[in-house]
């Protein structure tokens, strides 16, 4: 599999281009396990590498990008992520920009922006179809495809900062379970969606930034998607505990769902690639979490038998047919699964949750650093970033640059999205330290 992975990026990069590289080349160097001029930085390229809109607002204000009260767009309603606009990217030195489908997690378009205020009076812009009227108890309910005649699919509690799925599970009729019921949301991509992706890639290429694309449809068993947030009346297995149990009690069913999902996804990828070519640097394949804070969520055997075959199929197709690199996101402690995950052919691993058990940065770099790019792991977002001192943040950024940076194979990104409630001084300390320590050459004193 390694032969397929040394693709166009290596060939296209001459040693002379190392200094004064563009953002895109900087990311390509990293993915080719070479050092560019400095460690590339992602913020907001993907839906797991961004920042809650409240924190984006405070950061923009602190940097002086906007007059007070200027609203920030919510570009992803599920996690309430804020837009990382070109001015913020320039201010922080961000190298990655994202491209996705024309509709969001809940099946409506991010357009017809309207003003809203939430989270301690943070001024926001939300899509026209975003529900802003709370229920009597203060919760906000989200409807699939903004269709209020359907049962609500997600809820943001009164004091919450984002949405979570409302489980809509019909009684399960074991005798008549049909994989098609869990495949309703996976369909051939529309011409309109392909055109949207083509136009977005064409619009963003001149920025010189690397494009991280999320084409959807490849998140096998991602529990953010299993409840069917875009579906009016989801069928099949939609309850999360029932889904987890199905991995061991109905493996044939799950395998069939994934098998047919993969078939649809690969046909879609072929159409997208025909429209956009190799303009995209990396493709977000899956965000299904395989780890908890303490260890793997599922057994290595379950990963190997149920998930890996489809990860291999997608990675192999992309490497054989495109110049794209592949990206996997899985939270938690996945050390025991990493031999298989890396062997499945992923080029980039995110979010590298070093705050989980057995996820020591040096061990990760030593064991897998020559085969996979660490796209994350830059700062602990559970303790150090929200609750640590500025000096602790600076020390961790310096350490992570020194551990993950040498030899390339590192795209700096915090561990998952930066949440609300992080003191803005800490955000400034974070990006100040990134700027201070991202320049190559970098040595690991402990190595």
């Amino acid at each position: 599999m390694s032969g397929a992975r040394t693709s166009n990026a290596n060939a296209a990069l001459s040693a002379g281009a190392r200094r004064g590289t563009s953002s895109r080349e900087r990311v390509e160097f990293a993915l080719a396990h070479q050092e560019a001029d400095r460690v590339p930085l992602d913020l907001g390229g993907g839906l797991v590498t961004g920042m809650h809109v409240r924190s984006v607002y405070l950061l923009r204000q602190a940097i002086g990008l906007d007059p007070p009260g200027t609203p920030v767009k919510v570009i992803e309603p599920y996690q309430m992520l804020g837009e990382i606009g070109p001015d913020l990217m320039d201010a922080l030195g961000v190298d990655v920009v994202g491209v996705g489908r024309p509709t969001n997690m809940y099946g409506f378009r991010n357009d017809n922006w309207k003003r809203w205020s939430a989270f301690n009076g943070t001024p926001l812009l939300v899509p026209g179809d975003f529900p802003t009227d709370p229920e009597r108890n203060g919760d906000i309910l989200m409807y699939p495809c903004a269709d209020r005649s359907a049962p609500a699919c997600a809820r943001m509690p009164k004091t919450g900062l984002y949405f979570d799925s409302i489980i809509r599970q019909d009684p399960i009729d074991e005798e008549h379970l049909d994989a098609a019921a869990n495949l309703e949301e996976f369909a051939p991509i529309s011409d309109e969606a392909v055109e949207h992706i083509r136009a977005e890639v064409a619009r963003l290429l001149p920025s010189g930034r690397a494009i991280l694309a999320d084409f959807g449809g490849m998140g096998f068993g991602d529990v953010a998607l299993v409840p069917g947030p875009t579906l009016r009346h989801p069928r099949g297995i939609r309850d999360l505990e029932e889904w987890y149990m199905s991995l061991v009690s109905r493996p044939q069913y799950v395998y069939e769902v994934f098998d047919r999902q993969a078939e649809i996804a690969l046909a879609n990828l072929a159409r997208i690639h025909a429209a956009i070519g190799d303009g995209v640097t990396a493709v977000f394949v899956t965000g299904a979490d395989f780890g908890t804070q303490e260890g793997p969520l599922i057994s290595p055997k379950t990963y190997r038998t149920l998930f890996k075959p489809f990860h291999v199929r997608v990675n192999d197709w992309i490497h054989a047919n495109t110049g794209w690199k592949t990206f996997i996101h899985s939270c938690g402690s996945i050390w025991r699964l990493l031999d298989d995950i890396v062997d499945a052919g992923f080029d980039a691993l995110n979010p590298v949750q070093t705050s989980a058990a057995n996820m020591d940065p040096r061990q990760l770099k030593q064991a897998y650093g020559d085969r996979v790019t660490f796209w994350g792991g830059g700062i602990d977002t559970q303790q150090v970033l929200p609750f640590g001192t500025r000096e602790e943040i600076r020390a961790m950024v310096r350490d992570r640059m020194r551990v993950f940076g040498p030899g390339g194979g590192f795209v700096f990104n915090p561990i998952h999205n930066i949440q609300a409630g992080v003191p803005v001084e800490n955000l400034l300390a974070l990006y100040g330290a990134v700027e201070e320590f991202r320049g190559y050459p970098i040595g690991d004193p402990a190595a």
């Binding site: 509690p157 919450g160 979570d164 987890y244 149990m245 804070q293 969520l297 559970q382 303790q383 409630g421």
Partner: protein, 217 residues
Amino acid sequence: MAALDELREAVIDGQLAVAVEQTKRGLEEGIPAQTLFDDGLMAAMRRVGELFEEGEVFVPEMLVASRAMTAALEVLKPELVAEGASTSGRVAIGTVMGDLHDIGKNLVAMMLRGNGFEIDDLGTDVYPERFVQAIRDGAEVVAMSALLTTTMTNMRAVVEAIGEAGLREGVAVVIGGAPITQTFAEEVGADGYARDASSAVRMVEQVLGRVRATNGP
């Protein structure tokens, strides 16, 4: 006691129908419901907890085992009541205000139930006053869960509300969830922290012992 062996095995393997069948068979054979619970279901769940901590079984296996245990317990419940069985203690459990994540909380509840505790499951997005009410309703232990750094701080508000209601002395407060640490538990004034569902059972038993020793009989 072949029925007990097979019952334990069925629960550990998550075989719901077999677990229910073996429970019925055990009762028919005249095994006391308390014995079927203690040496069957509870022993099985303790083993599942050990296997989980040893990294031999994982969340899906733990869920199917818990489901089999719960179904078998439904069969036993009327008999346990008839035998006048006592519980290990009453635990009110919930995910704190602003947080809707409940898989971890549910796993803890299932493991506690499988170890003889009576569970008052308050659900998710639980406000401090609801926890206080649960103590008034008879809970000896308040167990709180949070997945988020943004909601874990709400645990402090619950501990304070319990204190303001004058109920702190008589109750054990335990917490857990991905971002929670022992240090954080001490900061918010909780009596205990556990890192997973299996160790949560041992920890609840410990703190409950301390609370009961303090309170007297």
